[in-house]
């Protein structure tokens, strides 16, 4: 990186272009507007030169070299459209089509098929081939989500290279040779990957098709819009496509800062959940003990009356709000303003007891995902990224494997990235702090000679252990030189919710309650008097009857909160429960008023990913029934409680956030609309990363090629020039509808984390096993269970321990055992796993049925359990 790459001049079809030494010819041509046809070459994969489609003529080179394996040299003269090249292209295509079945009308790829497109653009119109074509059994399922039709395969090896090189799940490969060559899976090792959908997306023909999308729609009846995935907090860019007001699929969009065009299968296929049967379509209120459907005004009036009653009885502290991390930033801000600015309570938490304190998240120096690539080293003190943040796993894996960034793994267990670690620090669950102290030593040899920050991927490895251990470890790691933190948080927009103040003790824009009190009193009229409780505290208080009104915003506490016992008691104990949700969950069933909310894909706005990147999400379909976006619901409630937010659409909220929240300074609706890759907060530190250009999803272009827009010319220059940037952002010609003017508001200091008190981790009793409860990608949460294609993929609930522990207890592998924790006794199957250390029991969170939630006591630091035979 230090030595600037040498510039060379290449002549492509008579046009002189500048390129960097060592770049691939095909890429140089593409960047300069010359499309060289190709099947096997993919921008994010290593070139192989399999398909021979990209043959070009190079002066002075004998024959026709493939453009995808030829690097540019100075003075190279290339012709991509000469007669010889055309003849070669004709020949290659005719050859490829010899064995291609006449499937276009029934093939899912028909209409967006690179083979079709390039045949039309570069190929012959007629075939000389009259013999019988090759025949294989028609589609065979190679995984639960992907079907393989070998007749259609043109052996470009994109899928195998993706699986091998990108995902690290080398489970498909070529078999046979010559005319019989075909893609196969290993007989005893099925193609199970969280990234299998990407092979479908990169396949240049219809050989790999996705089961969920099979025969669902055709490219020409799809309407696409670019959006940001909210399944987890990585914030992958994708294009969501709908037909007849139903979202039928999601495709990855290649964005350099985040996902490189990849998606995990949960994000890709989980869009099915949007059209789940149990969506709430109309508001409901409880009458005579039954929830009955009613009109919006009735429901809103009832909700506001309940909150008002609680206010009257208990004061502001009698109202609490949990949730808000699944919506947009605007939704979260509206809730924050309702809770803190209208009601005046600080009992607000967007995290369901499985995250880190807001001050820590907001106050530590942040890293961005691209920082991984240029990091001196990566320290991993986080949950299993492959399970929880799969695309971040791809990025970390790429950094470690392809770019050689040393990886220090601080963990209790083996996980997806363990095998790529350069150094590993193992610890007992809950003992992160002591492990963190060893990191500096482990790092020292690895970072020698390397520059760049040390990126710490920080998160709570499991939900059975309280945040304290991680908080304590963070305090240690923060002392590392050049340490920057990437927060491995759970749920789509949790970072955004925290940024806009949906947590106790903070106000929108990384401002603490104390420092921002003056500013927000001016903006909102009031702020809470004292720091409130977090989710665990709220539920505890509710269980004790101290919460008069509990607002659950998309928070399925009984399923998603680590301590189901506490959650149930809390919901039961709260005087009045308003559930703002989209599906009929257990918490909704217990609510007094149910307000249906619009989901991702049904509303537009912005979302903030784990690095603090604010990106736009787009509305694609309209919901069945009458669900409303959260911000509108919050606004209606506020109106009934005496404050008129006076909002027309979400852009007004964006402007208001930009005006009142210091962390969002300048990030107004206009900037958000123009920022191609989103805006990393705070803007002041990341202004040079801003690219001001709306991305356009090419619809009819050579369809499945990487969706990479041409580099913006004018505006990018503007953005990279620090003097010009403010001008580009400040679009004073457009009126700002924000009702709260920024000018005149008192300043507020943003939070800097300076360490916090953490409860010490209690020692482990030798007879007990310490529980580690990480999440799995496919769990019993809404996204998976409401997606028919994914629902079957949820693994069985089991307690994994080291085989020695099984024999110690005296049962056979797979037998049910009785498990006792402070929350009671449950019966579960026990399986042996040598990767689990002794003294540790591993159980995935929320796989349905009896689960971790029944075992964990959220108020204690760790969860230890005793295992006994059933009798």
């Amino acid at each position: 990186m230090s030595d600037a790459p040498q510039k060379v001049t290449v002549t492509i079809d008579g046009r002189e272009v500048q390129a960097e030494q060592g770049e691939l010819l095909i890429k140089v041509a593409q960047d300069n507007g010359t499309f060289v046809p190709r099947f096997c070459w993919h921008e994010r994969m290593k070139p192989v030169g399999m398909c021979r489609m990209c043959l070009v003529e190079v002066d002075g080179v004998r024959g026709l070299p493939p453009a995808c394996t030829t690097t540019v040299t100075d003075g190279m003269v290339v012709s991509t459209q000469s007669e010889t090249v055309k003849k070669a292209q004709d020949g290659v295509l005719e050859f490829l089509l010899i064995n291609h079945p006449l499937d276009c009308p029934v093939c899912d790829r028909g209409g967006e098929c690179p083979l079709q497109d390039q045949t039309l653009a570069f190929g012959p119109a007629e075939s000389r081939y009259v013999e019988e074509k090759r025949h294989y059994e028609k589609p065979i399922p190679i995984s639960d989500l992907v079907l393989l039709d070998r007749e259609r395969c043109i052996q470009c090896s994109r899928c195998t290279r993706f699986a091998d090189d990108i995902a690290g799940d080398p489970l498909i490969d070529f078999g046979e040779r010559g005319g019989q060559m075909q893609v196969i899976t290993y007989p005893d090792d099925p193609f199970v990957s969280y990234f299998s959908g990407n092979t479908v997306q990169v396949c240049p023909v219809g050989a790999l098709t996705a089961k969920p999308y099979r025969f669902k729609a055709r490219p020409w009846d799809l309407a696409s819009v670019e959006t940001t995935c909210q399944t987890c907090s990585v914030g992958c860019r994708g294009s969501v496509e709908s037909s007849s007001n139903r979202i039928v699929r999601m495709l990855g969009v290649d964005v350099e800062p985040t996902n490189h065009g990849w998606l995990c299968d949960k994000g890709r296929f989980g869009v099915e959940a949007l059209h789940a049967e149990d969506r709430i379509r109309t508001p409901m209120v409880r009458r005579d003990g039954e929830l009955v459907e009613c009109s919006w005004p009735e429901a809103l009036d009832a909700a506001a009356a309940g909150i008002q009653r609680a206010l009257d009885l208990h004061g502001p502290g009698g109202v609490a709000l949990i949730g808000g991390s699944r919506g947009t930033n605007e939704d979260a801000y509206a809730w924050a303003r309702l809770a803190k600015g209208v009601i005046g309570t600080d009992h607000v938490d967007a995290q369901l007891g499985d995250g880190l304190p807001a001050e820590l998240v907001l106050g530590l120096p942040g890293a961005t995902i691209p920082d991984l690539d240029r990091a001196a080293a990566i320290v991993l003190l986080a949950p299993d990224l492959k399970e929880e943040l799969p695309v971040l796993y791809l990025r970390v894996r790429r950094a470690a494997v392809d770019l050689g960034v040393p990886l220090v793994d601080v963990s209790a267990l083996d996980h997806g990235l363990s095998r790529y670690a350069s150094a590993t620090v193992r610890h007992l669950p809950g003992e992160q702090q002591s492990a963190a102290r060893e990191v500096a030593a482990a790092l020292a040899p690895l970072t020698e000679g390397r520059s760049g920050p040390i990126v710490v991927v920080l998160g709570r490895p499991d939900v059975a252990t309280a945040a304290d251990a991680t908080v304590a470890a963070a305090g240690v790691l923060a002392d590392l030189p050049e340490a920057r933190f990437l927060m491995a948080l759970r749920r789509g927009n949790v970072r955004g919710a925290l940024e806009v103040g949906l947590a106790p003790g903070v106000l929108p824009g990384r401002v603490s309650l104390e420092s921002g009190a003056e500013r927000f009193t001016a903006a909102w009229g009031r702020v809470p008097a004292a720091r409130g409780l977090d989710a665990t505290g709220i539920l505890g208080a509710a269980a004790e009857g101290r919460v008069g009104a509990l607002v659950l915003v998309g928070a399925d506490v009984t399923d998603d909160f680590p301590d189901r016992h506490l959650a149930r008691a809390g919901v039961r104990g709260a005087g009045f429960v308003v559930a703002v949700d989209a599906n009929r969950t257990e918490a909704v069933a217990a609510a007094d008023v149910v307000l249906p909310a619009a989901l991702w894909g049904e509303k537009s706005g912005t979302t903030t990913n784990l690095e603090g990147r604010v990106q736009r999400v787009a509305r694609k379909v309209s919901p069945d029934g009458s669900p409303m976006p959260d911000w509108r619901i919050a606004g209606e409630l506020a109106l009934r409680l005496g404050t008129d937010f006076d909002l027309e659409d979400e852009t007004e909220l964006q402007d208001e956030i930009a005006a009142v929240a210091p962390g969002f300074a300048e990030v107004d609706a206009i900037l958000l609309r123009r920022a191609r890759d989103g805006v990393v907060l705070p803007l002041a530190d990341h202004r040079d990363e801003l690219v001001l250009e709306a991305r356009r999803i090419p619809v009819t272009d050579f369809s499945w090629e990487p969706i990479a827009p041409a580099e913006p010319e004018v505006e990018a220059a503007e953005a990279s020039d620090p003097d010009a940037a403010p001008e580009a952002i400040d679009a004073s010609d457009e009126p700002r509808p924000a009702q709260v003017p920024a000018a005149g508001l008192p300043d507020a200091a943003t939070i800097t984390w300076t360490g916090a008190e953490a409860r010490p981790t209690p020692g482990r009793d030798n007879y007990a096993l310490r529980l580690v409860a990480g999440r799995r990608l496919y769990d019993a949460g809404r996204t998976v269970s409401a997606s028919p294609s994914l629902a079957g993929l949820v693994p069985e609930t089991a307690l994994r321990v080291h085989p020695q522990e099984i024999s110690r207890i005296g049962v056979a592998d797979g037998d049910p055992v009785r498990i006792t924790t402070s929350r009671g006794t449950q019966t579960l199957a026990l399986t042996g796993d040598t990767t689990v250390p002794l003294g540790v029991a591993v159980m995935a969170f929320n796989l349905g049925g009896v689960g971790v939630g029944d075992l964990v006591d959220a108020t204690s630091v760790v969860t230890d359990l005793r295992v006994e035979t059933v009798r």
Binding site: C104, P105, V106, G110, G111, K138, P139, R214, F215, K216, A217, R218, W220, D221, S244
Partner: protein, 195 residues
């Protein structure tokens, strides 16, 4: 006598045959290529020709065709191959009878009959579903109560498909390029330029 010869013209007409007819009771025969109400054809063995490929929907300039494909049930396939037309709807409030769908259909599944006399009392009737479009067991159009069918207007449904099948290539004129239809067998081609 030019000035008043007009009277002669009108008087003359009284002794000429009428050009109008008893329309609702009799209809003038329609040409072979007439674009009328669609039918969905079957092969001679009764299999549906439609494979749900949506080419017709894709080419339709009025966006009046709605098709959804589905996997053919392996034990009782509806059409040959993997896929069949699971939903097939034409909205006749939008259809302009341009017959691009007929030209686009790769399996000759959709063709047009000679009927255009159908008016609806409600919008739902105007949206023909597969139940109404698909030919019956004899290969004839299913006649809806609100349609005015007379005689054999459903006999020659594939005129436009046959007329356009050579795609401008004189070598393909007069050649049968299509499969047989239930109840009618393989239709004859137009004589083309040889006639």
């Amino acid at each position: 006598m030019g000035r008043f010869s007009g009277f002669g013209v009108t008087l003359k007409q009284m002794f000429k045959p009428r050009v109008t007819g008893d329309y609702p009771t009799t209809k003038r025969p329609k040409p072979d290529r007439f674009h009328g109400r669609h039918v969905l054809n079957r092969y001679e063995d009764g299999m549906e020709k439609c494979i749900g490929c949506e080419l017709c929907a894709g080419v339709c300039p009025a966006k009046c065709i709605y098709v959804r494909g589905a996997d053919n049930p392996p034990d009782a396939p509806v059409s040959p191959g993997e896929r069949y037309g699971f939903v097939y709807e034409i909205n006749y409030l939008r259809c302009i009878h341009c017959d691009m769908c007929v030209e686009a259909c790769p399996t000759e599944a959709i063709t047009e009959s000679k009927l255009f006399e159908f008016s609806f009392e409600n919008r739902a009737d105007a949206i023909y579903t597969k139940a109404e479009l698909l030919v019956d067991d004899e290969g004839r159009a299913r006649r809806q109560p609100w349609e005015l069918w007379l005689g054999d207007e459903d006999d020659r449904t594939s005129g436009w498909m046959r007329a356009t099948s050579p795609a401008g290539d004189a070598d393909y004129e007069g050649r049968v390029n299509w499969s047989g239809e239930l109840g009618f067998g393989v239709r004859d081609p137009e004589q083309g330029q040889s006639a």
